[in-house]
């Protein structure tokens, strides 16, 4: 069958007419397959959700236990029939629980990869390329200027700054789900042993990572720490909190930001960042090319990001390729820090992670 008959775009997101399900729909739908827990991919209010255990748990933490009508757990590598279409969840290496979804029907194999990265990450199961006819890729960092450096070397910039400015707190903006916990793991791997302080918006998600057996060391809430202990501490907060009144409790902090966007000086400057850390949970330019070639796909569909450049490259490489022009994705690597950040203290409703 033609790939478009198996999966095509709709205003709600990718839709499979054969299986009557959506992948990462941006609006509430009767049946959704969710690649990972970032709020631009995982929305509340669907009739039924099929996702990994971790993604279901993360959605419950963010949106409450009633985030969906029915929840079904997908195990990595297990083939599941959805209305006669076979789907398989496979590790995407993006964050804890993230998956690519292989959709198979009548000899046609399509991989919807969600967000992914091939590099090593102690907080997420490792990405593996999946053979397919059509590979659906994001292109958040789909320009040749994006070659992510070694994350350990970037972490070293932070620890070197802690050594040089031991009297100052180091405030690091990081997305509350995934990036924050990965940064903690990187710091521990770099030998940083002090308690890591966090903003309240990432408390429950961080506790969940720890509960899933990911070693993050001692993590404490920044608001519960005496001012004297703030000196020389790493404090991780949502990017928006860097410029919020919340940051005023830290006298003379070093302002850092962990994101792939920090590669571009103008971006870092615009956010008032003094210590840019180029740490990304997305594939960089080289990763995108290597991955696409490794899948052996004949055709590339690009969901969001710098689709023009990636499609141009794919055409030069002899593939069929086209952009899907999908809107609503790419939020967690958003262009600049949101101006109104999540509250530090738990809100009455249980949506205190503020990821929406």
């Amino acid at each position: 069958m033609r790939p478009e008959e198996l999966l095509h775009t709709t205003p709600q997101g990718l839709y499979s007419p054969a299986g009557d399900f959506f992948i990462d729909p941006v609006r509430a739908v009767p049946r959704a397959l969710i690649t990972h827990g970032h709020s631009d991919h995982a929305r509340p209010g669907h009739g039924a959700v099929l996702a990994t255990r971790e993604t279901l748990d993360i959605m419950a933490i963010r949106y409450g236990e009633d985030f969906t009508g029915a929840a079904q757990e997908a195990t990595y590598g297990e083939r599941v029939k959805v209305n006669g279409v076979t789907v398989t969840f496979l590790p995407a290496g993006h964050i804890l629980g993230s998956a690519q979804i292989l959709v198979e029907h009548r000899g046609c194999r399509i991989v919807a990869s969600g967000d992914y990265k091939p590099g090593a990450d102690p907080t997420a199961p490792a990405f593996e390329p999946v053979a397919c006819h059509v590979f659906i890729s994001e292109a958040t960092f789909g320009l040749p200027v994006f070659r992510h450096p070694d994350p350990a070397a970037e972490t070293e910039k932070l620890t070197a700054s802690l050594d040089l400015f031991p009297e100052r707190a180091h405030l690091v903006g990081a997305y509350p789900l995934g990036k924050a916990q990965r940064l903690m793991a990187l710091l521990r791997a770099a030998g940083h042993e002090r308690p890591i302080l966090i903003h309240g918006a990432m408390e429950r998600l961080t506790a969940y990572y720890a509960a899933r057996g990911i070693g993050l060391g001692e993590v404490r809430l920044a608001r519960e720490v005496a001012p004297a202990e703030l000196a020389g501490s790493v404090v991780i907060c949502p990017p928006g909190a860097l410029s919020d009144v919340w940051s005023r409790r830290f006298p003379d902090p070093v302002t850092a930001f962990a994101s792939g966007w920090m590669r571009i000086r103008a971006r870092a400057r615009q956010n008032g960042v003094e210590l840019p850390l180029i740490i990304s949970d997305h594939a960089d330019w080289d990763d995108l090319q290597a991955t696409i070639l490794a899948t052996g796909c004949e055709e590339l569909w690009v969901t969001h990001g710098q689709e023009d450049a990636l499609v141009h490259w794919a055409l030069l490489a002899g593939l069929r390729a086209r952009p899907l022009h999908m809107v609503g994705y790419g939020e967690e690597e958003s262009e600049s820090a949101p101006d109104t950040p999540a509250p530090d203290t738990p809100a009455p409703a249980d949506r205190e992670d503020g990821a929406s």
Partner: protein, 582 residues
């Protein structure tokens, strides 16, 4: 080079002066000779890289990348050097025949091998020994050996676009921070030194002797003054003090003495000891005295002192052309004499030095390039206040425009380095001020990163529109900063990245009293005006924005510089501490 590039990268993001000093000192501490010396040379401007044109860089990248991908990338990044640094493809694997030295390449630190970094000296050598036609190949080979940050720094260095906010003085202060010496002491030994400064580092770190300076015309640390405050007058006796005009130019130290070969050496130093002779060859070449004169660098045309705005046209020019020299003739108005014919006069009382200075200037008219800054006669503080309020009528005549206040010097004062409190005072004229309306606010850096602390303000045009006339980011108290920040957050009407537009109609908005030192015409600003040294002097919560000043008022001030209405200045009147509180 990669390590030095990493330092430059970090400095480019570091807003604090002390932060920069610590970063540079840390680099010096952990980088061996001679690499750190070359880095110091690069930071102090003593290292010159051959300039490359953007066209060459475009050509190199075009040979290596797909044009569509380059265009998309450049469009995205917005900066040529940065785009090229990031896109530069990894070189093809070394086939082993690339190096002229053959087997010797093993020990060559510039060869591409694992972790080994390309030393700065290799880059300096490469650029100094090659011919013009070799530039593309040499540059490409260097870029092949550097990482992203290294490529960025090299491209910025050779295109002259490196903006990291580090002056030579700051770099020398970082050297001082390696040990116990004061920055002025580094400045004193500096003129006799050359890269890679190994003896300087050894001395600064306390394991080497003070470098001998055999410079016949060294810099002597400058004596500075304190701003005088109202209570000070009550305890000072006018009879003990001499007054002179405080000229609005650049403080300069002109030193001339015979060198080892008997030929005279002339040097012009800035207040911080930077040798600026190269920028004023006309002046340096005209001097004929033997000694060290402290004075003000001014532009004189037909005997009249020009405003600071005119002087600024001559500053910071890369090329000092004959036309620039002819149009902006430089001149020294002498304040003091530190050395005469090898004799150090600094211990003498002011009056004695002044007499020697007067004689020296009289004996050396220097083609009209040197004159004596006149004393301002006064017998009471009230009389001096009157002179300060109206210099034109008290001896400054047509030059009154270039007077920014009066200096008070104790008749017995020795010439002391630094800013001793007591012997010298400055009493600046009151600044101009206008009422302007806050239009945009931007978050600050560092301590102020959560505050909207950079303000763009405007005045009304004839058409009833607000047009921006300047930006200010100091002058207010911490308490006022919190008030303005709250106002900005509550009255935002638009957001552009880190910038917020705040409400500014004739009835709603915040009026700021802005003090400034001068106005000049400018084609860079929509209002056609540029303000010198603007700062917020008061918040006018009481004033409706519609009653703020109009553009015509500012335009009239330009036409009438110097005689423009300044802030009310009762004799020894209001508290002026804020105006000085930069």
């Amino acid at each position: 080079m990669n390590r030095f590039a990493a330092l430059l990268d970090r400095l480019a993001y570091e807003p604090r002066r002390n932060g920069k000093i610590r970063l540079i000192a840390d680099y010096f501490r952990h980088t061996p000779d001679p690499e750190r010396g070359h880095a110091l040379a690069a930071l102090t401007g003593a290292l010159s890289f051959r300039n490359a044109k953007p066209g060459l860089i475009r050509q190199l990248i075009a040979e290596r990348t797909d044009p569509v991908l380059f265009a998309l990338s450049y469009d995205y990044v917005g900066d040529l050097s940065e785009t090229v640094a990031l896109m530069w493809p990894a070189p093809p694997p070394d086939t082993g025949d690339a190096s002229d030295e053959g087997e010797a390449a093993e020990g060559d630190p510039t060869s591409r091998s694992g972790e080994r970094d390309l030393p700065l000296s290799a880059i300096v050598d490469a650029f100094s020994t090659m011919g013009r036609s070799e530039l593309p190949a040499v540059l490409a080979a260097l870029l092949d050996r550097l990482d992203e940050t290294g490529r960025w720094a090299l491209l910025k260095l050779i295109t002259g676009g490196l903006r990291i906010g580090v002056s030579a003085r700051l770099a020398k202060t970082a050297v001082a921070a390696l040990g116990e010496h004061a920055p002025d002491e580094i400045e004193l030994v500096w003129p006799g030194l050359a890269p890679p400064y190994e003896e300087l580092f050894a001395w600064a770190e306390g394991h080497g002797p003070r470098p001998e300076t055999d410079d016949p015309a060294p810099f002597r640390p400058v004596m500075l003054s304190h701003p005088i405050e109202n209570p000070d007058f009550a305890v000072l006796d006018p009879a003990d003090f001499r007054a002179e005009w405080k000229w609005d130019g650049i403080r300069i130290q002109a030193v001339r003495a015979a060198g080892a070969d008997g030929r005279p050496v002339t040097r012009l130093y800035s207040r911080t000891g930077e040798d600026i002779s190269g920028a004023f060859p006309d002046l340096a070449g005209a001097l004929a005295f033997d000694g060290a004169v402290d004075g003000e660098l001014l532009i004189l045309r037909e005997g009249r002192v020009q405003s600071f705005n005119v002087l600024q046209q001559r500053l910071n020019r890369k090329v000092v052309s004959a036309k620039l020299i002819a149009d902006y003739p430089a001149h020294i108005r002498a304040y003091d004499l530190l050395v005469e014919a090898g004799e150090d006069l600094r211990e003498l009382p002011f009056d004695a030095r002044r007499a020697r200075l007067a004689a020296l200037v009289a004996a050396h008219p220097e083609e009209g390039r040197l004159d004596l800054s006149p004393l301002v006669p006064f017998d009471s503080w009230e009389a001096l206040a009157a002179a300060r309020a109206d210099p034109a009528a008290h001896g400054a005549g047509a030059d009154a425009e270039a007077v920014e206040g009066v200096m008070l010097k104790h008749a017995d004062s020795a010439y002391l380095p630094g800013r001793p409190k007591g012997p010298w005072w400055k009493w600046k004229r009151d600044p101009h001020s206008i009422d302007a309306v806050l239009m945009y606010a931007q978050r600050g850096h560092g301590k102020r990163s959560s505050y909207y602390s950079d303000y763009t303000f405007g005045v009304w045009t004839r058409e009833g529109e607000l047009v921006p006339v300047g930006k200010a980011y100091f002058g207010f108290t911490d308490a006022e900063l919190i008030e303005i920040d709250r106002f900005v957050r509550r009255n935002t009407v638009n957001r552009f990245g880190p910038v917020r537009e705040v409400v500014h109609t004739s009835t709603e908005g915040l009026v700021l009293e802005v003090a400034f030192e001068g106005l000049a015409r400018s084609t860079r600003h929509r209002s056609g005006l540029a303000m010198r040294f603007p700062r917020i002097s008061r918040l006018r919560w009481d004033k409706p924005p519609g009653e703020a000043d109009r553009l015509e008022t500012l335009e009239a001030m330009i036409g009438d510089e110097g005689r423009a209405p300044r802030r009310p200045s009762p004799v020894l009147g209001e508290d002026r501490s804020r105006a000085e509180g930069a």
